[in-house]
């Protein structure tokens, strides 16, 4: 057996053990004889049998044809011809057909400028190589992911003010990878308008120990502007001080552009738009919303939508929200819902609400469109008011119509009948021959004429009542008015043995047309005297009260009464009488009603036949 020099490499046992433990294979090439020695480990690495004899001829078979085979051959040739050592990472094809990675280090041994031997080490680096490859691959993937999503990673060591950026972050900032970065260098790259906020944010996050997502713009050296969004978290030391900040920066320029476009669209909408998520958190509002609510967008975003709705309507809102999310579709809330929102100063605004689903990458959002319907409400209110006043004037017209009808009836009956009587009398007069009868007819003609004159006078009087109503309002004391009435009816009162009592304590006076008031008293009291029950002295009681701010007069008697069921509709008619009383002319109540009506009041009666009558007047 040949005595190999390497066997003498030092304290044999120690070296051998070390090399074996390190799994380092050894080889030696004798250039002159072309003989090759492989250690056991070398044989293990190449997976050959223990009795394998390596030769220059079978060496290439341990490499796949191509790159590795070439560089291995070249390295050996160079070592032999030029004495150059080598250190190569090679891919090796084992005898069993497996691929292994080995580090191959070779040292030529020179004698008189000629290479006589090559000593070499082989180290199996398959595992390391694999890990490295994996890592490279992962890194490439990560890089790709960063590039694709336009995200860059950063790490800021606050104490040392040292910032580490991923390659892609350099790309996002338009800086060469590896450029040293510190806080002020970052600030320098930021759009001048956003620098102040950026500094403030950094300080705020450190103070509050909380990172909040934010955006800023960066200006590239070529002047182009990008918008980025930062997400991060804080790392604290054992004392709770913030020492590090890590996070990602994403270029959201395109995203932002589409958002800006969307915003533009939102802002151009005529209605107030509030976009909320499923939980009711406000995501976005438009300019109209800022105007309507008096809040800035930044004050509302991330708040719950309930800040815009009065408490009393929360249940209503929830109900419609639930209904909406059951089957999200364009939904207009009922027009008569009477829904309100309130603005920053608490002022409530009536709105018409429309809900629409908005599919986004972040899930389903609701776009709430609000239309201020104050004007419509006011218009509706005005219409109602107008309607009311129309109704009132219709009522007035109806009343006037009724008066006209009444008047029509008066002319048709009370004027026509005396005229027709006159005609009939004249007819008879013409054919009558007896002078006594003729005389009688003349008498009757004169009495009809008198009656006709009286009727016309009364009608004129009633017209004047309507015309003069609003003239000469004055303060009237009821007791004085009653006293004068009693004086005027003194004879009748004595004759009928009537007693008249009164209670004006609740309302002693009234502002009224004096002539009318006296006429009302005179008519009603004299009626009570006239329509007494035979053999029963009249008892008349007059009282004034205040009901709902209006003076109410009552005249109560114990007279014969009227059947109101039968005659109620004629009670205040012209020339309507209900008794076979010689003095009944049927104009007293007609005129009384005309006076009360003209003053805007109301008159009505209650009566029981044989027991008495009460007249009530709202003055």
């Amino acid at each position: 057996m040949k005595n190999w020099d390497i066997e003498d490499f030092g304290p044999e046992s120690l070296l051998k053990k070390t090399i074996k433990l390190a799994k380092i294979g050894i080889y030696e090439l004798d250039v002159a004889s072309n003989e090759i020695y492989w250690s056991d480990v070398t044989k293990q690495i190449t997976e050959v049998a223990e009795d394998f004899v390596p030769t220059l001829e079978n060496l290439p078979s341990f490499f796949n044809e191509g790159h590795y085979r070439d560089i291995a051959r070249d390295a050996m040739n160079n070592a032999i011809t030029k004495g150059e050592p080598y250190d190569l990472d090679l891919e090796v094809l084992t005898a069993k057909g497996n691929i292994r990675y080995v580090r191959n280090v070779g040292h030529p041994k020179m004698e008189n400028g000629i290479c006589v031997k090559i000593f070499g080490f082989l180290q199996d680096i398959t595992d390391r190589k694999r890990t490295k490859l994996e890592l490279t691959k992962k890194n490439q993937q990560l890089n790709l992911a960063e590039q694709l999503s336009q995200i860059g990673y950063w790490e800021w060591d606050i104490m040392a003010d040292n910032i580490i950026w991923s390659d892609n972050l350099y790309r996002i900032f338009g800086l060469e990878a590896g450029t040293p970065i510190h806080f002020e260098r970052v600030v320098e790259a930021i759009h001048p308008d956003d620098r102040k906020t950026f500094r403030e944010n950094a300080q705020k996050f450190i103070d509050e120990k909380r990172f909040r997502k934010f955006m800023h713009r960066i200006t590239h050296e070529d002047g182009s502007v990008r918008t980025v969004e930062l997400i991060g978290e804080l790392i604290m030391n054992q004392y709770g001080d913030v020492v590090k900040m890590i996070g990602t920066t994403q270029d959201i320029t395109e995203h932002r552009m589409s958002e800006i476009k969307f915003r533009g669209l939102l802002d151009s909408a005529p209605d107030t738009m509030v976009i909320v998520d499923r939980k009711g958190i406000i995501q976005l509002i438009n300019k109209q919303a800022e105007k309507m609510f008096g809040y800035k967008s930044s004050e509302l975003v991330d708040e719950h939508v309930t800040v815009l709705v009065p408490n009393r309507l929360w249940d209503t809102m929830e109900y419609y929200a639930e209904t909406f999310f059951k089957t999200p579709k364009h939904t207009g809330l009922p027009a008569d819902l009477d829904f309100f929102v309130h603005n920053k100063s608490g002022f409530q605004i009536p709105v018409q609400v429309t809900l629409s689903p908005l599919e986004t990458t972040e899930g389903l959002l609701v776009s709430i469109a609000l239309r201020d319907i104050t004007v419509q409400k006011q218009a509706a209110h005005r219409i109602l008011e107008t309607n009311k006043s129309l109704k009132e004037s219709a009522k007035r017209l109806k009343a006037q119509n009724r008066q006209l009808e009444e008047f029509n009836q008066i002319t048709s009956h009370n004027l026509r009948s005396p005229v027709s009587n006159l005609n009939a009398l004249l007819d008879i007069y013409k054919t009558e021959t007896d002078s006594g009868t003729k005389e009688m007819i003349i008498d009757k003609i004169s009495s009809v004429t008198k009656h006709l004159t009286w009727t016309l006078d009364t009608l004129v009087e009633s017209l004047l009542i309507k015309k003069n109503a609003q003239q000469s309002l004055e303060k009237n004391h009821f007791d004085k008015v009653l006293l004068r009435t009693k004086e005027m009816l003194a004879a009748e009162i004595i004759k009928t043995e009537a007693t008249i009592t009164y209670d004006f304590s609740e309302a002693p006076t009234v502002m009224y047309n004096k002539v009318y008031l006296e006429s009302i008293f005179l008519n009603l009291v004299s009626n009570s005297l006239k329509y007494k029950v035979e053999g029963r002295p009249p008892e008349i009681f007059v009282q004034s009260k205040i009901k709902e701010g209006i003076v109410l007069l009552e005249f109560r008697d114990n007279g014969s009464g009227i059947n109101l069921k039968k005659n109620g509709h004629k009670l205040f008619g012209f020339s309507k009488v209900f008794h076979r009383n010689k003095d009944a002319k049927g104009v007293g109540l007609f005129l009384t009603k005309a006076q009360v009506d003209a003053m805007g009041g109301k008159i009505w009666a209650k009566s029981e036949e044989g027991k008495g009558t009460s007249f009530f007047i709202n003055l």
Binding site: Q409, S412, H413, N421, L425, D427, V448
Partner: protein, 132 residues
């Protein structure tokens, strides 16, 4: 010619006089009774409901009267009619040309016609001739 009993129910004394003069000039009028309102006439009919000669063949009925007007009288009279052994014609007479009154009278079957004052004597004669 059958003798005719005529009732005039009207509170207007002048009218009572003028129609009285006309009726008296018609030969087949047997009797003329004047009443100031519906209630008076009704009272008379009630008291004489079995005495045919006291009951009217024809009634000239005014609308506007105190106590009981023409329509109120008709309400009572219609109920009484089947118990009377006599057919009676009722003419509503009024100076009113109010269409409401005319319509109301139209709806009452027992009212033969609605006459507007003043009544012409020729017209009254025609009516009375028709009956006899």
């Amino acid at each position: 010619m059958k003798p005719i009993n005529v009732f005039v129910i009207d509170d207007d004394e002048i009218y009572q006089f003028t129609i009285g003069v006309i009726l008296k000039s018609i030969p087949n009028v047997n009797s003329i009774q004047m009443f100031g309102d519906g209630a008076e006439a009704l009272e008379h009919i009630l008291t004489h409901k079995n005495v045919e000669s006291e009951l009217p063949d024809i009634v000239f009925l005014d609308i506007n009267m105190p106590v009981m007007d023409g329509f109120q009288f008709m309400d009572e009279f219609i109920e009484l009619l089947p118990k009377l052994n006599k057919s009676t014609k009722v003419y509503m007479v009024s100076s009113s040309m109010d269409p409401k009154d005319i319509k109301k009278a139209d709806r009452i079957e027992e009212i033969s016609d609605y006459l507007v004052k003043p009544l012409k004597s020729t017209h009254i004669k025609e009516i009375l001739l028709e009956i006899s």
